[in-house]
């Protein structure tokens, strides 16, 4: 039988990225295809590696804190938190109640902003370009709150070792009220826009299925983990700050495919909004003014290795701080960056899928390369 009488396919290697919008920055995937079907995928990372961990060894603790914003730059405040918690654990300082509430409030606001980007870009990568503008508008309302609170939109550095930078103010209150007013109708509208869209469903249902067992083996965390049916959220299961005072409901999906990861994020947005309301109400009950704990100007923590972890928009972020007890600079800082651990599963997940599905998989993970590359 001649080769032409049969449908045959050609093997080739495709370089996905690093310079393409659908790779969410500078992710590069070297994928081998047999015709349209992926047979091997090797993610190549490091294009955005800035050596933040090395840089922190030559900065003092407060100076180092601002570098953490640049990891997951879509949710800067959330990255400050594990570093601040680790250093505070080393120092043994207590944080005022109001500062803790402000930390939680800003973290939830930035979590919302990050989810808006995650959902919007996801839909855009699947071809619905207008789907990105609506969530970005909502994100802008969230960033307005941060801007009014501390003067910076994205890399805020709002959380300081020992507390927070600025107290809640009227301008931030007004901006948050705008968010309260705008977000619920948006969510309703977006559900109508996307949920039952035939193209969206076809491109995501049954694509990139991760079983709970594989998700655990690869150390997935955050929404990507919960979309695979593992019911785990640090805010509920190991509360830090004052999360133990609030009821954190954790939505869980079972399908583990790209569609479940979208549904998961949309359901979590409702929860985040409810949490913001509750934390905001609790914040109003506390006396204004006390937002910094007793922290000396010059930080020289005792020797030791401490580890702190928080639930970030992308998953569980960990921070190891090692101090030699003599210097004002940390001896070593290491970050567990959730996106880094999440995408390690790509080389197992992608084979068997078509070219277009690879884009859906990358988009559904909501990755940030600043975080992956460190």
């Amino acid at each position: 039988m001649s080769e032409r009488s049969n449908a045959y396919s050609e093997r080739y290697t495709l370089n996905l990225g690093p310079q393409h919008p659908s790779t969410h920055g500078v992710l590069r995937v070297i994928a081998d295809f047999d015709g349209e079907t992926c047979i091997a995928a090797d993610p190549v990372i490091g294009y955005l590696h800035r050596g933040i961990e090395k840089l922190l060894e030559s900065r003092t603790y407060p100076q180092g804190l601002v570098y953490t914003d640049r990891l997951d730059y879509l949710a800067g405040v959330n990255n400050n938190l594990p570093f601040a918690l680790a250093v505070e654990k080393l120092l043994g300082v207590a944080i005022p109640e109001r500062a803790s509430l402000l930390r939680m409030l800003t973290c939830e606001i930035m979590r919302l902003a990050s989810y808006m980007v995650g959902i919007g870009i996801y839909i855009m990568d699947l071809g619905a370009v207008s789907g990105v503008f609506y969530p970005f508008q909502q994100r802008e309302y969230a960033l307005d709150v941060m801007s009014a609170l501390c003067g910076a939109r994205m890399t805020q550095g709002y959380i300081r070792i020992g507390g927070v930078q600025a107290d809640w103010n009227d301008e931030a209150e007004a901006a948050l009220n705008v968010l309260y007013k705008e977000l619920p109708p948006f969510i309703e509208m977006y559900h109508k826009l996307v949920d039952e869209n035939e193209i969206f469903l076809r491109r995501t249902s049954g694509v990139g299925v991760i079983s709970a067992a594989r998700a655990k083996a690869y150390g997935l965390s955050g929404p990507n983990l919960r979309a695979s049916g593992v019911d785990y959220d640090l805010r509920r299961d190991a509360p830090y700050c004052l999360y133990d005072r609030f009821k954190v409901n954790v939505p869980v999906q079972t399908a583990g495919d790209c569609h479940a990861r979208y549904v998961q994020r949309m359901q979590e947005v409702d929860e985040i909004l409810r949490l913001i309301h509750e934390i905001h109400a609790a914040l109003k009950e506390t006396e204004p003014g006390k937002i910094m704990g007793p922290v000396p100007k010059m930080l020289r923590p005792p020797a030791g290795e401490v580890y702190a972890q928080t639930e970030n928009p992308k998953g569980i972020m960990g921070c190891l701080v090692a101090s030699d007890g003599k210097s004002t600079n940390p001896w070593r800082v290491h970050f567990r960056r959730p996106s880094f651990d999440n995408i390690a599963i790509f080389s197992e997940l992608m084979p068997g899928h078509k070219v277009a599905d690879l884009i859906a998989i990358i988009a559904s993970f909501d990755i940030v390369l600043g975080e992956i590359d460190g």
Binding site: N15, I45, G46, Y47, H49, G51, E53, K54, L55, S58, A212, R214, K216, A217, Y218, G219, S221, L225, G229, V230, D231, Y232, L234, D237, A238, V252, T254, E305, Y307, Q309, I316, G318, L320, A322, W331, R332, H334, R336, F340, D341, A344, I345, E348, D373, G374
Partner: protein, 159 residues
Amino acid sequence: MTNNEVKPKAQVAAEIVRLPGVAAIEGGDCEYLLEAAALLPAAAYLLEAGYEFLADITAVDYPAEEKFRLLYQVANYHNGDIITLKLDIPREQPRADSLCGLYAAANWLEREVYDMFGIEFSGHPDLRRILMWDGYAGWPLRKDFAAEPGKYQGRRRLD
């Protein structure tokens, strides 16, 4: 939902020190200092005990003591408890056993440690640089690697 049971921290603390080469660190919260041969049995025990979440592997360089300290943060998907395994290895020809056979997550985490510190992991299926490019010389996070501000470190070739 799909979660299985996990042994409480106190029970792990009582049981893990019975393994040869595992010693509890005083004052630490579930931190254990291991001998090189004890790493795989300790990790296997923790996996059996429900600690399925290998959260982190990293190293700290202590040149004055001529050692690297490897830190393994082993957690679970239930209550946020972390068991920290610490393993001191010599700075000359540093080498440790790979956990890839137990945790798939170890693959990239160990590659990162290899990339930054030059620590070899025996039994790793694919030990190559991950953040720096292939052919890069030096181990950036070692203390004797001097960061030179302003020095252009070369460009990565697409090949």
